[in-house]
Symmetry: C2
Subunit: 168 residues, 2 copies
């Protein structure tokens, strides 16, 4: 296994000040919502913060449980699904189809293509930009006469940290 310079490692896989991930995500989201004149209500903000508790995608019902643990109140599924819908619509989170789960978007507020590297051991999902992938995908779709409207690229494997563990 060749060494991977830490600069190329996705943030999710690197040691970092995660508290600032969370705070940054919230303040950026607040700005985006303000600019769009839509409301980041307390519930939506709370769901966003919970999604950002880690770099691991979380299911809707897990979020319900987390809300209950934080709040004593237990919201019903539609409540959390509506918050997720809002966050998806304004591109503050992504949905990981292969996991039925949701994760914070590190480059929020606008449409962009990306792919996810998902670790089957620790559950981390690292979002990466498709600068290299995207042209190939677009060329493939064009060749087949398809007009792309959305795409989902989810790569499951083992992250650097879990590979080290597995080797040991």
């Amino acid at each position: 296994m060749s060494a991977t310079p830490s600069e190329t490692l996705p943030l999710a896989c690197r040691r970092h000040d995660h508290q600032s991930c969370i705070e940054g995500a919230i303040t950026t989201a607040a700005k985006i919502c303000q600019a769009k004149a839509v409301k980041l209500t307390p519930l939506r903000r709370q769901v966003l913060a919970l999604v950002w508790q880690s770099h691991k995608p979380l299911g809707a019902y897990t979020l319900i449980d987390m809300l209950a643990a934080a709040d004593t109140r237990r919201v019903a599924p539609p409540t959390v699904y509506r918050a997720l819908e809002f966050l998806l619509e304004h591109r503050l989170i992504h949905r990981i189809d292969s996991l039925n789960a949701y994760i914070g978007c590190p480059d929020p507020g606008h449409h962009h293509h990306n792919y996810f590297l998902i670790c089957l051991d620790c559950g981390i999902a690292a979002e990466c930009p498709t600068q290299y992938l995207s042209p190939a995908i677009e060329a493939a779709a064009t060749a087949a006469g398809f007009a792309i409207s959305s795409q989902s690229v989810e790569i499951v494997g083992r992250c650097p940290a879990c590979r080290k563990h597995a080797d040991a």
Copy 2:
């Protein structure tokens, strides 16, 4: 919109003798199972045939309904899920994560990477080989230190036929 030479169109998007798709899939599957000494039982064969009725991914419960319509007997979910599990395991079908649905594999019996072009109008899903995509994906994963174990590339858009309709 530029004309797309019909040679580059995925089979699913071209006029073709679909009956021979179905028959070919069944006979190939039978050969593969024989070679592997596993059993393509009547139920498994029937589910495979149903999955191949079209080039559109079908949900498990749709398959249950189709079985009931064909047979008068109505199987319970575990029955059809077990058949699907077998067909997945031996790489005779694929699961489309973004649709919770299953589709016949045109290149069955062995592991291979691919991507799907899925039409949001007619539901067709065309499986394409990732000859061009795959190196980019592998390079991306390697750069991030990930060891790939599986991947899912699902591109949603509008197929050539539905684009023509939409233009009209």
